[in-house]
């Protein structure tokens, strides 16, 4: 903390404008006082989520993040759609759309409080996954889309 204050004093001398300087001194002093007299409590992460939960932010899920990284390889070729049609599948979201939507619409979905899940009624036959030239695990993405 001491190193911070040394830097603080150095920066003070670099700033311009009396008003800016005065504001910083005031706030700086208040900040120091607050930190010594009343250290903050509570979990800041929970605070963050409380602040931004209504905008659709959730704690990231490592498995979902891995799926989304895999989905980046999509070549938009449409073979997954063709294969799904051939085996007679009828998921709510076409596999190609599911792959593209992953990580893109999640926040909007939560923010808009859309009741229906992004993707269900996929039978899990994995036909799409087996045909994908980019080796994207589309079946797992369809599953993930069902639970935001």
């Amino acid at each position: 903390m001491l190193r911070g204050y040394r830097g603080f004093l150095r920066e003070l001398s670099n700033t311009g404008g009396w008003r800016a300087l005065a504001l910083q001194l005031r706030v700086g002093a208040a900040h120091v006082a607050r930190r010594w007299l009343r250290p903050p409590d509570g979990d800041p992460v929970q605070g963050f989520l409380r602040n931004y939960g209504a905008d659709g932010f959730r704690l990231p899920d490592p498995e979902r993040a891995a799926l989304q990284l895999a989905a980046e390889a999509c070549l938009v070729c449409g073979l997954c759609s063709a294969e799904c049609a051939r085996v007679g599948g009828a998921p709510r979201l076409d596999p190609r759309d599911a792959v593209i939507c992953a990580a893109r619409l999640e926040i909007d979905w939560i923010r808009l409080r859309l009741e229906e899940p992004a993707s269900t009624s996929c039978a899990g036959c994995r036909a799409c996954t087996l045909v994908c030239p980019a080796a994207i695990p589309i079946d797992r993405i369809q599953d993930a889309g069902a639970s935001f």
Binding site: C77, G78, L79, A82, A85, R86, C132, P133, A134, A135
Partner: protein
Amino acid sequence: MTAVVVGGGLAGCAAALELRERGCEVMLVRAGPGSTAMSWGTLDVAAASPLRRGGLPLRDPTTGRALAPARRLLGVANANTAHPYATLLRSRSPESEVKEAAVALDGWLAPSGLRVLGSLEQTRWLADLRGAVRAADLAFTGAGEGDLASAVEIALVDVPGLGGFEARPALRVLAAELAALGLSRRALRVLRLELPPGLAALASQPARLAAALETAPARDALGPLLRPLAAEGRLLLFPPVLGLERVDRVLAWLSDTTGCRCAELLGAPPLPLAGYRLDRALVAALGRAGVGVRAGRVTSIETEGGRAVGVGIAEPGAPDGAPGAALALDALVLASGRFVGGGIVERDGRLAEPLLDLPLYDLGGRRVDGLAPRRLVRRDYEGEQPLFAAGARTDARLRPLGPDGAVPLANAFAAGDLLGSFDPARDRTGLGVALLSGRRAGIEAARC
């Protein structure tokens, strides 16, 4: 003798089928369909291209007649001596080479209802969804029946609600294209086909519509609506949704019902159904021939004493670094494709062939592996792009060459888009190279 083929596109499948016909045990390892499945219905051997700088002229300047595909093949090889055709056609007659390949492919695909159409003496002129015309040497059932030059009247079938096809602008484009090609004395029109309610609901999902058109109830409902389209001597061009697998049956039914010649327009992503059908037909042919097909990606090649002896395979969906299976082999065919197939990748910021570290060469024969992809592109989008012509160089037997020009592995062969010094998007030779080199690699590998 056991052979392993890496890659299951047209090149890999052709190699595997040739090996099998010569009595070898064959295992084909494929990670996915590759760029073959994204083709749109033509088999370009040396198709005439509108890009005159990269393509070949349409007509023989002395006679004025359109150049036959076999003649253009030689033209390609003469213009670019590093092109795979130069290797494949050395001391061989291009006409018989291509004819033989076409007949072989037709034989493999025919049980799936897919035929190779086209006479190598005559270019077929086919229309695509946009109304633009493409010159095709050979074409598959579906689009192949739609040669414009031999039609007196051409009708584009507008299917309301089916996306991706705007019939009126396509007609205008088609008229201009035919005029530019000197084929304008044909009647052109748009005909409307309203789908019955059950099918109309599927119109916004073309793949499902295509699947439905193969079923009897759909045809019963659609039959009466087709009759008004009939007319003497008319060519009916439909958007490419005529079935997911048996396009031959759908076409036959359409022709019977209307009494006209029927064909598909050439398609494009996001729904490359023609390529999808080709891929499925190839896989079916592999099954019929007794080729073992293994899903997975080959991640390593074991070598010993100047020969390849085995491959390591990562299972599909396995995390990176997980131990995979291994296969022993007597001969290896590498048909892993270019970027779409993963045969050439960017590794640590540099272009590389990941399995054998083969040196890669561009159109002019300049070595380009080890360079950053950004260095290998040019500003002119339609011009030469060394990056997209990069690939391996081979000897006359299609064995890939090492950095010193020698052959590192006596029993390894390369085929398809992995081969270097040709740019299939510009010179329109993609599937032709795949077919010819795939067969040759298989034949050569069988001699090991």
